[in-house]
């Protein structure tokens, strides 16, 4: 490559960059203006279905509107979202080269202080998770929050080298992961078989059913979070796809 070519190339790159900045900047600005104008033009007053959702709250089995929406009014959406979590785990398994954790070696024991701290924190985290789960009936809380806290406990066990999910068998892990999705599935099939609308909860027993489904969902969410941390590419086991290849592919 001659010097002349190099100069040309540099100029070309600069010109392209300029075009990009101008276009992207103008576009982003215009989009932002559009959104602001749209929001300013929104109708005044109480938003959407909040009032109606509150009005029907007595028939939902829970006292907190958000939980009612998530697990009664729109439980179908929540079911699909739990499905998203299951899919995330499957995607991780796909990257690792198998739907099993047997080649995850136990983490080396770290320093004793961490172990001590873990021992102290795990019961507290578990308790918090249970509280959050139960709280969902009346106040902000519920399966997702509880699941993440419980999952954090699992991850912590793993990071400190204490026996954790990796001691649980392959089949059991899969059951724990799927149990949330299955809970909704069973509810859907059972309600159909009982002659109700799909996923319709009879008002009298709605509270219990919701708590049960939420508990199972919490278990799945917690397991999912813990497995995500355990099975990450950073963990000891070699991932199915060599990072070297990925780098090479990314450059092309």
């Amino acid at each position: 490559m001659t010097r002349h070519d190099a100069t040309l190339r540099r100029r070309r790159r600069r010109a392209l960059l300029r075009v990009r900045i101008v276009v992207a900047g103008a576009g982003a600005l215009a989009l932002a203006l559009l959104l602001v104008a749209a929001v300013l033009e929104l109708p005044e007053g109480p938003l959407g279905l909040a009032e109606e959702a509150a009005a029907q709250l007595a028939h939902t089995g829970v006292d907190h509107a958000v939980t009612a929406v998530l697990l009664n009014y729109r439980s179908y959406d929540t079911w699909l979202e739990v499905g998203v979590l299951l899919l995330a785990v499957m995607a991780i398994f796909a990257l690792r080269g198998g739907a099993h954790l047997e080649n995850v070696r136990p983490a080396p024991r770290r320093d004793p202080l961490l172990t001590w701290l873990t021992r102290l924190l795990i019961p507290m985290l578990t308790l918090t998770a249970g509280y959050l789960l139960w709280l969902g009936k009346f106040a902000p809380g519920g399966a997702f929050q509880a699941g993440v806290v419980l999952g954090a406990a699992g991850a912590m066990l793993r990071l400190s080298g204490t026996p954790s999910l990796d001691r649980i068998g392959d089949v059991a892990i899969r059951i724990l992961l799927a149990v949330g999705f299955l809970a909704f599935l069973v509810a859907a099939v059972a309600t159909r078989l009982a002659g109700l609308d799909m996923l319709e909860l009879p008002p009298g027993r709605a509270g219990d059913i919701i708590l049960m489904v939420e508990t199972l969902a919490t278990i799945s969410i917690a397991t999912t979070c813990a497995v995500l941390v355990m099975a990450m590419p950073g963990a000891e086991s070699p991932p199915a796809i060599a990072a070297k290849d990925v780098r090479k592919e990314a450059r092309t």
């Binding site: 899969r174 609308d197 796809i241």
Partner: protein, 499 residues
């Protein structure tokens, strides 16, 4: 209690759960066959129910909309569900043999995870086609995206991972854009149900923003030019059955949603300029995709770029159903042709493209590579697969008599009826270019290779699955009467009510 709409979603989900919990070799085949059979049975019941007694609707969780979520099935949903069922089960049949008899070539993860992922994907596709709730559609789109990404990474190759990541990010951009639109719509209408929103007054800036965001997001997910950048790598690097699922079925789901919004929510026909713009982008896709396909040297990339081109035809429905600024319908009297033509194109493309990707899978398995130059002597070694590729090509080109021809003919008729003859020009040039890359592909198959090369044998079932899809793509062109009748059930393209 038999409720076909619910079972179209429940059956694949049950199958997916079982396949996830019991991934062993023994269980794989019974679970897969059972799930396919149960889903097909549900699809059949739904079809006959809608055919005999008109559009259906059911409420979930016992709460009627707007509080709860509704499922609804009209002719268009059933059309898409049947398409998914037919193409999906044939791809499934291919996968059964692909992942058992060809197991030496596949990753362990691939064998264990294909079925749960594909069945969840299938269920969510049906969920989209049945959903009457714009937020629920968002969730189902997310499920589809994630399942598709996981399926791509299954092949265990670095290039597949990179392609899958690009796909994931692009799809997220599209989903979030759609979600922003959902938020704006909810804020304006206070409801999420398609029917309720459709009945309300429209206009106003929030709705303009919602349309722009949702349409662009969905177009990105459908890989409309110039936002198709993620599609060729994602569709070509995956394993054969996965490529077939992605190209034949997954891209159609977001297009379906866009069409629903266009007719149901936004009074799209009133937006003439937008219709023309979308049609123009579609035309650009037709030309650009075909040109790129002509330049590919690898079979799967060629087929993937062909998908970019074929998606373009779908977007011609927007200008053809729009009303001129003066108020009259551009294609008054030809709306049925336009809508049926585009739906039919979706169907025949799904069949033909699935056939081509499965055929490419056979080539890849036998030759160990899908470079066109390596396909020498294929017409003698793999006559059935070559035949399937050629037949599917006939449908893609739109030669009579084939599904592709019927679809393009209907679109052309509608375009001429609308006085928008320029789309006809695009369709015909697109057809010429398609013929070009199909011939280019087949040329190599016919060059004889004298030097004996070491090849793996291909068993008959996987070849027959590709052939069946290819033949179907041609055969659907023979009879248009039932699809015509089906597609107007429940008035899914409610343009006739407008003044």
């Amino acid at each position: 209690m038999i409720e076909p709409m619910a079972w179209c979603i429940l059956a694949p989900f049950i199958g997916a759960s079982l396949a996830f919990l019991l991934p062993g070799r023994v269980w794989r085949r019974p679970i897969a066959i059972g799930a396919i059979g149960a889903t097909l049975a549900s699809v059949w019941m739904l079809t006959s129910q809608v055919w005999n007694s008109g559009a259906q609707r059911m409420d979930l969780s016992g709460w009627p909309a707007p509080l709860g979520i509704g499922l609804a099935a009209d002719g268009f949903s059933v059309f898409m569900i049947v398409m998914t069922g037919v193409v999906g089960s044939l791809i499934g049949a291919y996968a059964l043999w692909h992942y058992s008899d060809l197991s030496d070539a596949t990753e362990p993860a691939e064998r264990r995870l294909f079925w749960p992922l594909w069945l969840i994907l299938w269920g969510s596709l049906n969920a989209i086609y049945l959903s009457s709730d714009i937020f629920n559609i968002y969730v189902a789109l997310e499920v589809i995206t994630l399942a598709a990404v996981a399926l791509i990474t299954l092949s265990g190759k670095a290039e597949a991972l990179v392609a899958a990541m690009r796909y994931l990010l692009a799809a997220f951009l599209g989903s979030l854009s759609y979600l922003m639109g959902v938020a704006l719509l909810y804020a304006t209408h206070g409801a999420l149900d398609l029917v309720i929103i459709a009945d309300q007054e429209r206009a106003g800036l929030p709705e303009v923003g919602a349309f722009a965001l949702m349409a662009t997001g969905l177009a990105l997910k459908t890989a409309l030019f110039p936002m198709h950048f993620w599609l060729p790598p994602a569709h070509s690097k995956a394993a054969a059955p996965v490529s077939a699922i992605l190209s034949a079925l997954v891209v159609k789901a977001s297009f379906y949603v866009l069409l629903r919004l266009w007719f149901g929510v936004f009074d799209g026909p009133a937006m003439y300029a937008v219709g023309i713009l979308l049609g123009t982008l579609g035309s650009a896709a037709i030309i650009w995709g075909a040109f790129q396909a002509l330049r590919q040297m690898s079979l799967k990339l060629l087929i993937a770029h062909s998908t970019v081109a074929q998606i373009g035809y779908l977007f011609l429905i927007f200008p053809l159903t729009a009303r001129r600024p003066s108020g009259e319908l551009a294609a008054a009297g030809w709306i049925t042709e336009a809508c049926t033509g585009v739906s039919y194109h979706a169907l025949s493309h799904a069949l033909a493209k699935a056939a081509m990707f499965l055929g490419a899978g056979v080539v890849l398995h036998v030759y160990g590579s899908d470079l066109l130059t390596n396909m020498r002597g294929m017409s003698r070694r793999l006559p059935i697969t070559t035949f399937a590729l050629a037949i599917a090509g006939v449908s893609l080109m739109g030669l009579p008599p084939s599904g592709g021809f019927a679809a393009k003919w209907l679109i052309v008729t509608a375009a001429l009826g609308a006085g928008q003859w320029w789309w006809v020009l695009v369709i015909l040039i697109g057809g010429l270019l398609t013929a070009g890359y199909i011939f280019l592909m087949l040329r190599w198959a016919f060059i004889s290779e004298d030097a004996p090369i070491q090849l793996r044998p291909a068993n008959m079932p996987i070849q027959l699955a590709a052939l069946a899809l290819a033949l179907l793509s041609v055969l659907v062109g023979f009879r248009l009467e039932e699809p015509f009748q089906l597609l107007v059930i429940g008035d899914p393209f409610p343009i006739f009510d407008l003044p």
